[in-house]
Symmetry: C4
Subunit: 191 residues, 4 copies
């Protein structure tokens, strides 16, 4: 089976997810700076989610470059990931519109956690098909960032009920971890 | 004629259908768990439709791998399928927002039935072009799942007026039938 | 310059146009057959537009199979066509929601007319680049359907103010003309 | 790393951005010419943004034809551009619905300015990777239009508070500069 259509379909879904979030930023009725300021939480929430979807697209892109074969299990593991990512516009809107209230911030993190688990399961499914000696197995070897993200999300979700700033800060931290090139992180952890 | 653009266009439409459904999940005004709970029927309805579109994309993907030639008739048979699938977000929203009332549940099933008939017609149109000895003819041979789905949908639609739970349960049953790999189903039917 | 991305971008825009129209079909609050019946004009309007976008995608697909070279002029002639086609969801919604009132029906036809003119200009731009002896020139030779459509649209738009049924009937006629394979139409005109 | 998926993802995002803007053109309740006239500012705003997204897609298309290699930095520079372009539907709607009031017109220009800066940074990132002797370096050589656009946007944004017509006129000027083929502009500047 060919991986081309799986990549094209995933690109399509991620491109739509990253773009339709802007529909939640509805134009205010008043043409004033004050009206614009009220949108700041929604805008920040939008930018954060844009970066997360960008990270997933980046990682998906890298992951599938090493993929050689695709089967039914892999298609479904990929759709499972897309399901959670497709909910990002919903949790983004709720978090932004409620100005980062506790439940929405927790749900946002839970959705990120479920997406990260789905990504992990997709990698496992791919490895089961390609074997431990494949290019893929080497490419995803160790995956420090992935494991670290899971731990941070799992910590941040309950923390949202203590301090939404702390939880939000941890989400930003995960985004930064992924934006920083791999080598620097490994250097940092090696210290 | 080249099948590449037909696949790309279908992937595009299915990616959009599967993603815009989330726009029906509008963020509640209240940042509370109670507000979130009210969205549960809409969410369940969303997940069910996500799985159905996923199944169609999967099957479409498999079907067209065996396709060698495409003509005007096939383009239109494919667009006919996409027409019914494009209505999935509408029936999904109606079913979810009315908390699985009888008419919406029946219409949801009717739309699935019409999609399944359109898929059947697409396969027939492809077979008429490729002949009974083609790779395609072997690939779609028998198609137990397709026929079973048609029967279940046709049963579930009127049943929606007796019990929406029963009708909904039958839709879930069809989804499970497609998620289970072929061999296990054939083993089961062979008993 | 490569025609691949022009085709991919056009496919993307047309796939989105054909799919987001369904967002105008908003789920009624009441779970009744009566509520559903009120959507019939919007639904019919949707199906008509779905067929028109399908026809354009079909024709675009055929046209570009014969295209060998793409330049800046052609990219803009193509974007000009996509501009009018991107307005289809708007005119479709207005026509459907006003239950086929005179102005919306006329505007719908005007948009179809402008799309048809844009398509004609795209073909001219392509011919200017490829020359009269090219495969393309032979492929678009005569173009009875295109010219006939222009005449019918130009007739139907003013007629909308006399009888919306007549204008609507002419739009359906154009759709039928394109759905019927070429040879049969030529036979009919030869009589 | 392969540039194919970067192009496909960018095409997807731009196709969605250019198309979902039409969702802001909501069908008026009244089927009258007067109701339609009220939409003229929103429509003009839509057409202007359609042309700008078209220009970006065109330039992106040309730029990446000369690109040979893609890395993580380039993926992010590209996503940064897409972030600002994804906000175009929002600023377009605000500008149109407020009938070209000062703040919305200024924000529209600011968004164009940030998009232009992001495009400039993308070109720099690509050049850093490809070197000064590459095909790419020759292709983007001088870039009069890009620099001129930056200057005009930076002038137009504060001018919006003096005269929205002047600011709007400058945005249209930039669009015209890009629509006119390169050679003519260079001839004009050489005079």
């Amino acid at each position: 089976m060919d991986k081309g259509r799986l990549e094209a379909f995933s690109d399509g879904v991620l491109a739509i997810v990253i773009t339709i979030m802007v529909l939640e930023l509805s134009a205010p009725a008043e043409p004033t700076l004050a009206a614009l300021k009220e949108l700041i939480p929604t805008f920040l929430s939008y930018v954060l989610s844009f970066i997360f979807i960008g990270i997933y697209w980046n990682n998906h892109h890298h992951l599938f470059q090493a993929v050689e074969q695709v089967d039914g299990r892999i298609l479904w593991a990929n759709l499972h990931l897309l399901l959670w990512l497709s909910l990002v516009p919903f949790v983004t809107a709720w978090m932004g519109e409620t100005e980062f209230a506790a439940w929405p911030v927790a749900l946002y993190g839970l959705n990120l956690l479920l997406s990260a688990i789905a990504y992990y399961l997709l990698v496992r499914t791919l490895l089961a098909r390609h074997g431990q000696d494949s290019v893929l197995a080497n490419a995803v070897n160790r995956d420090i960032k992935g494991k670290l993200s899971l731990v941070i999300y799992a910590t941040a979700v309950p923390l949202a009920f203590v301090s939404t700033w702390l939880a939000g800060g941890l989400y930003v931290l995960v985004a930064i971890i992924w934006l920083v090139p791999d080598r620097r992180i490994e250097d940092l952890l090696a210290k």
